[in-house]
């Protein structure tokens, strides 16, 4: 496979970056004294570290490839999810909607907050759907990271498994030992390396190809719809509705995002972190989409386009970016991937420990036992990622897969959280009805996609309508379930 990657020069840059990151990640493990330090860094996170951590976590190789694919297939219209996320995070950060009461309660996870309103069963059921949706969502991360690296390194596809295992092992070492503290410190380094790599590559591509030729290619290929998501309904109003719904729901409930608010030193700091990070969600979509557009231009001019659009970005970067800068960019992408994997592994293990295992440990385990359990959970999640990443065949857009799996819990958790914060009449009947409804529709769609008998129907239906439906029906289930339970008579 063609690549400008030089094992001596670029390899040295990547090696130096890896040594610094792993050393920093391991050095802070001595500060971990208990479960709260391990899961939420003792709630001592200030604004700028929170911004770096949140931005680095939500920008991984998988996000970059998915968003570049949107740029490659839809042009600038493909940045719509980023605009929705930016808007949602800004509004939530500005108003403190839901995040303020959540932080003030001093909880580690959202289900812990639900227990205070709806009881232990709702907490456990919420934990279950959060872990299910979160792990399915994260299941494709390692494979995508492996695909990206084997392509830019110019290795044969047979090296995919080795690459996936190497990424996982590096991340697992410091995450298992240092928990959130290691994640925060490495996130900070990774944010800087990622930003330098990404900005340098973008400026170089702009200088090399120029803005006008890139947009001219877009116009020729896709016409006006490449610049306007509402034009001709190609991107689709149902898709924009889903972008907006998942945007708000993930800002409010996605464990890897909300944990930054919960780790903040107070509610005001949490709000500031959200407000200041919101424009980064435009970067997260606009820059990869631009790289996807550049890939479209490059392959249209010189040929060599990959058969699968998701591989357009790595194939393009491997041949368009010169050595040395390629090393810096790969270090940046590796940084992005490591920060995402470490934060996600920790986020889902925290929900398993805090909410699913709570009926067993009842918060009575010693700090030492709690720490060991959390470390084992992180290791088990790593093993799951390796197996699932190799086994699951991805169909359709990667971003759509991420949205559909996210909806398994986003629809119900966002509905329940809003009701818990602002609706006195909400109760456990409504919460359980919302959890069941919110999970059934997206899981049903994923199963329909994989079964030969129903895959055609799933294709005709498309992923957006069922996901939007999941949000609407879940809200109705919450209201209907709550109202059907007889209200307690106050004496």
């Amino acid at each position: 496979m063609a690549t400008n990657f030089n094992w001596f020069l670029d390899g040295a840059i990547i090696l130096i970056y890896l040594i610094i990151t792993i050393t920093a990640g391991l050095m802070v493990r001595k500060y971990v004294k208990g479960v709260a330090d391990y899961l939420v860094a003792g709630r001592k996170v200030d604004v700028y570290l929170g911004i770096a951590s949140l931005a680095a976590t939500e920008f991984g190789i998988v996000t970059c490839m998915a968003n570049a694919e949107l740029g490659y297939k839809y042009g600038f219209a493909g940045t719509s999810p980023g605009i929705c996320l930016f808007f949602a995070m800004l509004v939530v950060g500005w108003t403190g909607f839901c995040i303020e009461p959540l932080r003030e309660r001093g909880v580690i996870t959202i289900p812990e907050y639900f227990e205070k309103r709806f009881g232990k069963r709702v907490r456990w059921a919420s934990g279950l759907v959060i872990v299910l949706g979160g792990l399915l969502n994260m299941g494709v991360f390692l494979r995508m990271g492996g695909d990206f690296l084997t392509t830019v390194f110019g290795l044969p596809p047979g090296y995919l498994e080795i690459m996936m295992t190497i990424i996982l092992l590096i991340v697992a070492i410091y995450t298992i030992l240092g928990g959130m503290l290691s994640v925060l410190v490495t996130d900070y380094l990774q944010f800087i390396v990622l930003s330098i790599g990404l900005l340098s590559a973008t400026i170089l591509i702009l200088w090399q190809f120029g803005w006008d030729p890139l947009v001219s290619t877009l116009s020729e290929k896709y016409g006006a719809r490449a610049f306007n998501p509402f034009h001709d309904d190609t991107y689709g109003i149902d898709r924009i509705a889903l972008d907006l719904l998942t945007g708000f729901a993930s800002i409010l409930t996605w464990q890897t995002m909300i944990v930054r608010v919960l780790s903040a030193k107070d509610a005001e700091t949490g709000k500031k972190i959200y407000k200041a990070t919101s424009p980064f969600f435009l970067v997260r979509f606009a820059v990869p989409a631009f790289l996807g557009i550049a890939a479209l231009h490059y392959f249209s001019s010189f040929g060599g386009a990959p058969s699968n659009a998701i591989m357009a970005l790595p194939t393009f970067l491997a041949v368009a970016i010169p050595s040395l800068l390629l090393g810096l960019l790969i270090a940046g992408m590796l940084a992005a991937d490591m920060s995402t994997n470490s934060s996600y592994m920790l986020a889902w293990s925290s929900v398993i420990y805090n909410d699913l295992l709570e009926p067993i440990h009842k918060n009575r385990w010693s700090e030492k036992k709690g720490l060991v359990t959390n470390r084992i959970l992180v290791a088990l999640i790593g093993a799951f990622l390796l197996v699932y990443g190799l086994w699951y065949p991805l169909k359709g857009d990667l971003w759509v897969y991420l949205q559909v799996t996210g909806t398994i819990y986003l629809a119900s958790m966002a509905t329940i959280l809003i009701a818990a914060c602002y609706w006195d009449r909400a109760n456990n009947w409504g919460a359980i009805a919302a959890i069941v409804t919110g999970a059934i529709i997206p899981i049903g769609f994923l199963i329909m996609q994989q079964l030969p008998a129903t895959s055609q129907i799933a294709q005709e239906l498309g992923p957006y309508k069922p996901s939007v439906l999941a949000f609407l029906v879940t809200a109705l289930a919450m209201v209907g379930g709550s109202l059907s339970k007889p209200a307690r008579i106050k004496t």
Partner: protein, 43 residues
């Protein structure tokens, strides 16, 4: 539309550069403060 996206994209890039610089400087101070607080916290 082309000019619109050019202005949007360039604004995003400039903002990204600006924020990266500030976060790189002030984030390091945040890490030092956080570790200091954790060191002083009771066992």
């Amino acid at each position: 539309m082309k000019l619109f996206w050019f202005i949007v994209f360039m604004t995003i890039l400039v903002w990204y550069f600006f924020v990266t610089t500030i976060v790189a400087i002030k984030g390091f101070t945040n890490i030092k403060d956080m570790l200091h607080l954790l060191r002083q916290a009771p066992e």
